[in-house]
């Protein structure tokens, strides 16, 4: 691909994996700055090393360690992830191509996201969790060459996220207007986590930032 064809927001393959271009800096040798969708890490590359891919309905890919399938079946609901494939931002909006945002409010004409962007229903594809059976996995251009990482949809258990997993002494706050509950992790057994208020839940639920917010670790004080 040539540099003048690369735009901010495009999905591209780099080293066989799906990335999103977050910046193009023509003055630099490594001019194309990418974020790997699988684990949201940053990578620098040049235009010659990337190849564009345009996401469409029924494509499935891993975003931040979870699998999603793009769909147009229904309108987005509160809490859904959306991929903005057809951006037409208004005056007060601040988003660009292939931005992934979380829906905060649903209106007749469109949705409002957590980043206070107003997005109309025709501008986005819905990201449905899980891999649809008819879906076309797009996280690798050349499937099969990365066999060490399975495509079975349980990525969260396989990919190195150990440093993010809850450990004893982590204090979390419930992300809810109604309560001001804050609780510390006091026990872990396998993937279930026990909190100081007597509650026990799955570690994935605790790591879902829509439900719980990590505040600090006791040992870091």
């Amino acid at each position: 691909m040539k540099l003048f064809q690369v735009r901010k927001g495009q999905f591209v393959y780099y080293e066989n994996e799906l990335h999103r271009v977050y910046a193009v800096k023509p003055m630099y040798k490594k001019s194309v700055h990418l974020i790997r969708l699988r684990d949201l890490t940053q990578h620098l590359s040049s235009a010659a090393e990337v190849e564009r891919y345009q996401p469409k309905e029924l494509d499935s890919f891993i975003f931040n360690k979870k699998v999603y399938t793009l769909s147009k079946d229904r309108r987005a609901e509160v809490g859904d992830y959306i991929l903005i494939t057809n951006p037409t931002p208004d005056y007060l909006d601040h988003y660009s191509l292939n931005e992934i945002e979380v829906v905060a409010t649903v209106e007749n004409k469109g949705v409002i996201t957590n980043n206070s962007n107003g997005i109309r229903h025709h501008e986005y594809l819905l990201m449905v969790p899980g891999r649809h059976e008819k879906s076309n996995p797009i996280e690798y251009r050349d499937k099969g060459s990365n066999e060490d990482i399975p495509l079975n949809g349980n990525e969260s258990e396989n990919i190195g996220v150990d440093d993010l997993l809850p450990i004893i002494g982590d204090v979390y706050k419930k992300n809810d207007k109604e309560t001001t509950l804050e609780a510390m992790v006091i026990g872990i057994e396998g993937s279930s986590v026990f909190l100081g208020n007597g509650q026990s839940l799955h570690q994935d639920e605790l790591m879902d930032t829509e439900k719980w917010l990590f505040l600090y670790h006791l040992g870091d004080k």
């Binding site: 208004d90 007060l92 206070s116 207007k177």
Partner: protein
């Protein structure tokens, strides 16, 4: 049907109010001029002190916020960080806050004050100094304090309290859930009404200046008919842009306007009387700070308040009428900043920016008329305010290049302001949605141009000034309550945060 009517009540009622005004202006032009004059005189005689007091209060309140215990509160979640880099954030809010007006007045105002100063003799050295310090005063801390209060309130209730982007949301601590009832709707209707007039005033001034620019560059006649044609053409342009994907083009244009402004500023500093400009900047800043309180509260209890009404009160009203529009914009681009950062960025830095701008434009213009004792030129500028900047350029080196740059700047500002105003009006009138429908945006597009035309037909600049003084008064009162509500909201937020840190410290 009734449900839908209720949902759109803000839009429908404010539309009917403005339509009534337009019909009045078109069919009973004389009567409109007469009545607005009566209200105008009544307002400045009896209620001028409201404007003076309220704006001074906003300055004090913003400075209090800067140094208060609320300074560290972040607009948004604790983890949010600003969307924009600080320089582009400052450039954007400066453009939104002053934009079209600063080009119009930066030469005209100091020179007009020089010919008819607020006190003392005209055409003297003293008059020149007074002229500059009053220009600083009208464009300095007061307008930015108004924007600070409304922008901060909108941002805080939108991002920290998660309420819709409507003016009524700001009253949540006072009104509670009644913000969704008739009281909240009334607030929204008044804010839409004030905004329409604020925008119409700017568009009217813009049309005057675009026509003046065409007159001085292409020799197009400088008449009312041409001004109306300018408005119609601009309306068609932004209606097309709403309906096609040209919105992005508008964004590029508005970035272009910022670049042109800086280019003109730099060019003037070099080709103009550089040393005088620097001296004017320091001298006037000193005078402005020294006389700040006296100027802020100046009224004429025992004499004619004509000068104060046609300048100070007009500006205060115009800024207030323009505030929902600018406040909305500033709130949107300021998420992730702390209150301290916000006040420094919206009150202090832009004030400095306007002072520099005014020193460069006003300083060189005054230098021209004072040093060569050119009274005729000063009179000509004061009599032809909309031509002022082009007359000024004619007396500088590179004059035709500067004129064309100036004209491009005014024309771009005009279209971008008109276009973005339709979005904000759509948003305000649809209960703070970020997805206003195209139909409503187009309706406001046509309405705002119609109001601007009606105001120009019924008497030009003076009627523009009168109308905004009248329309902004209710909103000035609303803004006072807004400050109280903001204070209440911030105190509540502080309690929440204090509870959090107590828990942390105990651990």
């Amino acid at each position: 049907m009734i449900g839908k009517l209720k949902e759109n009540s803000v839009f429908i009622i404010s539309l009917i109010l403005t339509l009534l005004f337009i019909i009045w202006g078109v069919f009973f032009t004389e009567n409109l001029t007469k009545v607005t004059n009566i209200i105008y005189n009544g307002t400045i005689n009896n209620l001028g002190w409201v404007y003076i007091g309220a704006t001074f209060f906003f300055v004090v309140f913003s400075i209090y916020l800067l140094f208060s215990k609320f300074g560290h509160i972040r607009l948004g979640k604790a983890t949010d960080r600003p969307d924009f880099k600080t320089p582009s954030w400052l450039a954007m809010l400066f453009g939104a806050g002053m934009g079209i007006g600063i080009v119009y007045w930066s030469v005209a105002e100091p020179v007009t004050h020089f010919t008819t100063p607020p006190f003392g003799e005209g055409y003297t050295i003293d008059a020149a100094n007074t002229a500059m310090s009053y220009t600083f005063f009208h464009w300095g801390l007061h307008p930015w304090a108004i924007y600070t209060v409304i922008g901060l309130a909108l941002a805080f209730f939108q991002y920290n309290k998660r309420l819709p982007a409507a003016i009524s949301s700001v009253f949540y601590p006072i009104l509670g859930d009644r913000i969704h009832g008739p009281l909240g709707k009334t607030i929204d209707i008044l804010s839409v009404f004030a905004t329409v007039f604020g925008i119409a005033t700017s568009l009217g001034l813009g049309a005057l200046q675009v026509t003046a620019g065409m007159h001085s560059i292409f020799n197009v006649p400088n008449t009312l008919l041409v001004q109306i044609i300018v408005i119609v053409v601009a309306t068609i342009i932004f209606l097309i842009s709403i309906n096609t994907g040209l919105e992005k083009g508008i964004q590029y244009l508005s970035n272009g306007a910022m670049i042109i402004s800086f280019a003109i500023l730099l060019l003037l500093l070099i080709v103009g009387p550089t040393l005088t400009i620097i001296k004017v900047f320091f001298n006037t800043t000193g005078m402005y700070l020294n006389d700040f309180i006296q100027m802020s509260l100046r009224l004429k209890p025992f004499g004619e308040g004509e000068w104060i009404a046609s300048w100070t009160l007009f500006y205060w009203a115009w800024w207030i009428a323009w505030a929902p529009f600018v406040g909305m914009f500033i709130a949107r681009i300021s998420r992730g900043r702390t209150i301290k950062e916000f006040v420094i960025g919206v009150l202090i830095v832009p004030t400095l920016g306007t002072c520099i701008w005014m020193s460069i434009f006003g300083g060189s213009a005054l230098d021209m008329v004072v040093h060569s004792d050119n009274h005729a030129l000063a009179e000509y500028i004061a009599d032809n305010v909309s031509l002022a900047i082009f007359t000024f350029f004619e007396h500088l080196p590179l004059s035709s290049f500067l004129s064309i740059l100036g004209f491009a700047l005014v024309a771009i500002y005009y279209v971008t302001v008109a276009d973005t105003a339709t979005f904000v009006l759509g948003m305000l009138s649809e209960g703070g949605t970020l997805n206003p429908s195209n139909k409503i945006k187009m309706t406001w597009g046509i309405i705002q141009s119609a109001v601007a035309s009606v105001l120009l037909i019924s008497g030009g600049l003076e009627v523009l000034q009168t109308a905004s003084i009248v329309a902004a008064l209710p909103f000035a009162i609303i803004m006072l309550f807004m400050s109280y509500s903001l204070l209440k909201g911030l105190t509540g937020e502080l309690d929440v945060q204090r509870r959090k840190s107590r828990v942390k410290n105990n651990v």
